[in-house]
């Protein structure tokens, strides 16, 4: 009689504590807190127009961060995304100003992104140089190259670009639509395809993945190509919003993209995270903070401090969560203590 009570007593173990629930949805909670704080501080913040504005402004970061998430899932990193955007935009600008049709220029920009990814992938998988070093190098080489072809001058692009950025399809701004498509595709790939699940396996343990017959090299190479492609796509969105290529184009995007992914719960050690809702939420969160600070007329020098404070809190919550979950999931040996004492 007592025995059966032992084995049928899972409630003690599966009872979801409020703390765990909060910790497990840390990015959502943080997001809500930021929304509430800014809504209270500024009446203009929580308006439909402003929220749409935030979505539009965060769109290029969200797309670049989507690619970055793929890389982070394999425990790699891609620091060259901003450079890929810059080189792509420079090539695109040159072509357009040289009289080439815009679609061709955009395709060339995507091509540059893919090429960046391919070069990174080549060095990382074939020459086995660690991703941090490879992409740091391509970051500087790329920016230097782009500065040379733009002669460090800003290039103003035709109005068609700005029109693309402000266009709407069925009432939805094109940049937001682009994010939705990219994110949906990415999330489907990650959660519903063998490729996606193998990425998670690879991030969890490369050696085991190799032994299990996962094509580690191929997968690793592909995430950098995906990241390069997403960087170029994010670059196109940014171009359509700025209408010009300046020498600072794409700067700090590697930081924003990594921050967005991490804010969304992606682990830098690989194997954990997702694009939706994670990374998207992270990207929007960063934009919320910046937007809110603008509305509050805060000192611009405070922006990076406050943004990094938010990121720090997210990482802190993440580590607290891991510890707490580990403690709670520890195996119980005796199941009688709760009910009736000794058997």
């Amino acid at each position: 009689m007592k025995r059966s009570s032992h084995s049928n007593n899972p409630s003690a173990r599966t009872r979801p504590s409020v703390l765990v629930l909060l910790l497990n949805n840390a990015s959502l909670v943080l997001f809500a807190v930021v929304l509430v704080v800014f809504a209270l501080l500024s009446p203009k913040f929580f308006t439909g127009d402003n929220l749409v504005n935030i979505l539009i402004q965060s769109s290029s970061t969200a797309i670049v961060a989507t690619g970055m998430t793929f890389v982070l899932l394999t425990a790699g990193v891609d620091l060259s995304v901003g450079a890929a955007m810059f080189v792509g935009a420079a090539v695109c600008g040159k072509l357009v100003i040289g009289g080439q049709p815009i679609p061709l220029a955009l395709a060339a920009m995507l091509g540059v992104g893919l090429a960046f990814g391919a070069v990174n992938a080549l060095f990382i998988t074939r020459l086995r140089i660690i991703a941090f070093i490879v992409t740091l190098a391509t970051l500087f080489i790329g920016r230097g190259f782009a500065l040379r072809i733009t002669e460090t001058r800003a290039m103003n692009l035709p109005d068609a670009f700005l029109q693309l950025g402000s266009a709407k399809v069925a009432g939805i701004p094109v940049p937001v639509l682009a994010v939705a498509l990219v994110v949906a595709a990415a999330q489907l790939v990650l959660s519903r395809t063998a490729f996606g699940r193998q990425l998670y396996a690879l991030g969890n343990n490369v050696e085991s993945a190799r032994k299990a017959g996962v094509h580690v090299q191929r997968l690793t190479a592909s995430v950098y190509v995906i990241s390069g492609f997403c960087a170029a796509l994010g670059g196109i969105i940014a171009l359509s919003q700025l209408g010009a290529v300046g020498p600072k184009f794409g700067e700090n995007y590697e930081f924003k993209a990594i921050a967005a992914a991490v804010l969304g719960g992606t682990s830098l050690f690989g194997g954990r995270g997702n694009v939706f809702p994670g990374t998207v939420l992270g990207a929007v969160l960063i934009q919320c903070v910046e937007n809110g600070l603008v509305l509050l007329n805060a000192d611009p020098y405070l922006y990076p401090l406050i943004t990094s404070a938010v990121i720090f809190v997210a990482v802190l919550i993440d580590s607290i969560r891991n510890e707490t979950l580990a403690k709670l999931s520890r195996r119980r040996i005796r199941h009688d203590d709760l009910a009736s004492g000794a058997p």
Binding site: R3, H6, S7, N9, P10, A12, R13, T14, L188, R192, T193, A194, F195, R197, Q198, Y200, A201, G203, N204, N205, S208, A209, R210, K211, A212, G213, V214, G271, R272, S329, R331, R332, I333, R334, H335, D336, D337, L338, A342, P343
Partner: protein
């Protein structure tokens, strides 16, 4: 399994043949013209010490390595696997000793990672995935949802998932490399029954294990490797455990468990410090003198002080015949209380003279809700105390509590008579407690670091004497040399060599050596010989006796009952987080231990682990 038809043994029977396989690493021949055959629907036992070439051979079969010479024949056709998928495609599945599962994926995803069912490519057919996984889980006897994340499973269940994964390939040949190391007795039985079913279905298997009894029980044919060469090959009937061992070791191994070491040949440790070791050292000499004076076998007179009981038992070597010790059973045989002061290990005589055995570590009514309840016992100077029990009985958890890694709610833990703080290992280490975890690879060692760095880890600070705390290389090297000698680390291993390249036995020695620097008086060893081959096990046992002989108290947790019976002075049996029985060496009895471990526990312990 007795119905094997050995007479059917013909060449055509061979599913897989290795022919004159050669392999060298850096000029060292690790496989010397190995030829062997696996018959259809049979189980081939592959035994040999670690480093004998079993893994290399299996890596060649699995496509991870290519042979330098020789060939593989699968179904009479040449088979040249170049990638793990080649082997899988040919119907060869591996169940590795180390688990290769991905904790962030579900059971189903782990099983089908490289062969996801797809209804509408590239998308995974999730229902089909779940159904097929459920079927396989059912087959291996794991009653869990296929959507359970693997990180929530204990090691034993993960091993079963590995086996389900192997079965998913519908293999013709399964290689099982030490599959039972993390399984409970029940799970092991379940696995053996499953192997039997597979065999009847015509699936061939290669079974690699250090548990020779299992090999004899399960296998139709047995192959013994030593130093990369095949030294034994035949049907099961030709083998006994003793024969396998002598073939593996290349010498007659007269015993599985060592006698208590002859005094005087041990290496003095840390001569500059350590009163504990110094005393121990003196005691050896006293003892040696006593022995030479013929005091070694006193007549069993006064029961409470039976000084040489332990060593007498060890002189009988195997200890697998407790009857031999019956002559020493005395009237005080039934000591059930935890204050069993009359029981100390072999060389307790000098201690006795100083007035009673010394409890180095004492637990008084230690409890922690859901984990352990009312644990009381004392570990004495010079004693090897074993803790037996099934998987999930709370042994490792108790060890973690003693070492302060986990908290305990009630009771107290005394080290050298002083109560310890509730938690935190730091104070315990300072007071002379050492803990070797069951997972030495991940928790006990820095695998990528060198032997020297690992040995020096605990004591680095001691070798930084200059004002700027630079390491003093001279004393450091000296300390490393002392440690290596103390634990008898393989002389072939260079100080600079990464620990991960060592065999399991040598890795364990590095862990012990690392702790010796801190001069602990109490050792807690959790599964000290897991994954270690026969020869090296013996050396670890010797090391354990050595520690006890020098006056340390050693607490050994092990799932191998034979091992505890072979090396311990006293055994506690745990079940469901409680101590259920206590046996002195004269009472050692497999049945009694098993009964205590299983009593009221078998079903509950295993079934209560709801994920």
């Amino acid at each position: 399994m007795e119905t094997t038809n050995h007479e059917q043994r013909t060449t055509n029977d061979a599913l897989l043949s290795f022919r004159a396989i050669e392999k060298s690493f850096f000029g060292v021949r690790v496989l010397k013209s190995v030829s062997l055959r696996v018959r259809r629907g049979s189980v081939l036992g592959l035994v040999g010490e670690n480093g004998a070439g079993k893994s290399t051979l299996m890596n060649i079969l699995g496509g991870n390595l290519r042979p330098d010479a020789g060939e593989l024949l699968l179904n009479e056709a040449r088979f040249e696997p170049r990638h793990p998928t080649d082997a899988a495609r040919a119907g060869i599945a591996f169940v590795h000793q180390e688990l290769n599962l991905f904790s962030n994926l579900t059971i189903a995803e782990n099983i089908f990672l490289t062969s996801f069912p797809r209804a509408l490519p590239p998308f995974i057919a999730r229902r089909q995935l779940r159904d097929r996984a459920a079927e396989l889980l059912n087959e291996v006897g794991l009653n869990l949802s296929p959507d359970t994340l693997v990180e929530r499973l204990p090691a034993g269940e993960r091993q079963l998932v590995e086996i389900a994964k192997a079965l998913s390939l519908a293999p013709k040949l399964i290689i099982l490399d030490e599959p039972t190391t993390s399984l409970s007795a029940r799970e092991t039985e379940h696995l053996f029954a499953l192997m039997q079913r597979l065999r009847e279905r015509g699936v061939a298997m290669i079974y690699i294990s250090h548990i020779l009894g299992d090999v004899l029980r399960l296998c139709d044919d047995i192959v013994v490797l030593r130093d990369g060469a095949m030294v034994g090959n035949g049907v099961r009937a030709e083998f006994t455990s003793e024969r396998m061992i002598s073939l593996m070791v290349g010498r007659e191994l007269s015993q599985l468990y060592p006698k208590r070491r002859e005094r005087g040949d041990s290496v003095p440790l840390s001569p500059q410090r350590g009163e504990g070791w110094g005393e121990g050292w003196e005691r050896h000499e006293t003892q040696a003198a006593n022995e030479s004076a013929g005091l070694n076998h006193p007549a069993p007179v006064t029961p409470p002080h039976e000084p040489f009981l332990g060593s007498s038992r060890r002189d009988e070597a195997h200890a697998s015949q407790p009857e031999k010790d019956q002559s020493l059973v005395t009237s005080a045989a039934t000591v059930q209380g935890f204050e069993a002061r009359n029981f100390v290990s072999g060389n307790s005589l000098p201690v006795e003279r100083r007035g009673g055995p010394e409890a180095l570590l004492e637990l008084r009514h230690v409890s922690q809700p859901h984990i352990v309840r009312d644990i009381s016992f004392a570990l004495h100077r010079g004693e090897v105390l074993g803790i037996s029990g099934l998987m999930g009985a709370g042994r490792s958890e108790l060890a973690r509590i003693i070492f302060g890694l986990d908290a305990h709610a009630g009771g107290e833990i005394l080290l050298n008579g002083k109560a310890l703080p509730r938690s935190g290992p730091r104070a315990r280490i300072q007071h002379g407690l050492a803990f070797l975890t069951e997972d030495r690879r991940h928790e006990g060692l820095c695998l990528e670091a060198s032997i020297a760095d690992n040995l020096a880890l605990v004591a680095l600070r001691r070798h930084a004497r200059t004002p700027l705390k630079f390491l003093s290389t001279g004393t450091w090297r000296e300390a490393i040399r002392t440690m290596r000698a103390a634990v008898k680390l393989s002389p072939n291993a260079r100080d600079e060599q990464a620990v991960k390249t060592l065999s399991g036995g040598n890795q364990q020695k590095v862990v012990i050596g690392k702790w010796l620097v801190a001069e602990p008086r109490v050792f807690i060893l959790d599964e000290p010989t897991r994954g270690i081959d026969v020869g090296a096990k013996f050396e670890i046992y010797q090391l354990i006796h050595d520690l006890a002989d020098r006056g340390a108290g050693v607490l050994v947790i092990s799932s191998e009952m034979e091992e505890l019976i072979g090396i311990c002075d006293r055994i506690l049996v745990m079940a469901q987080g409680e101590i259920r029985d206590e046996l002195r060496s004269v009472e050692f009895d497999r049945e009694r231990i098993l009964r205590a471990a299983l009593l009221d526990g078998a079903r509950t312990v295993t079934s209560a682990r709801t994920p």
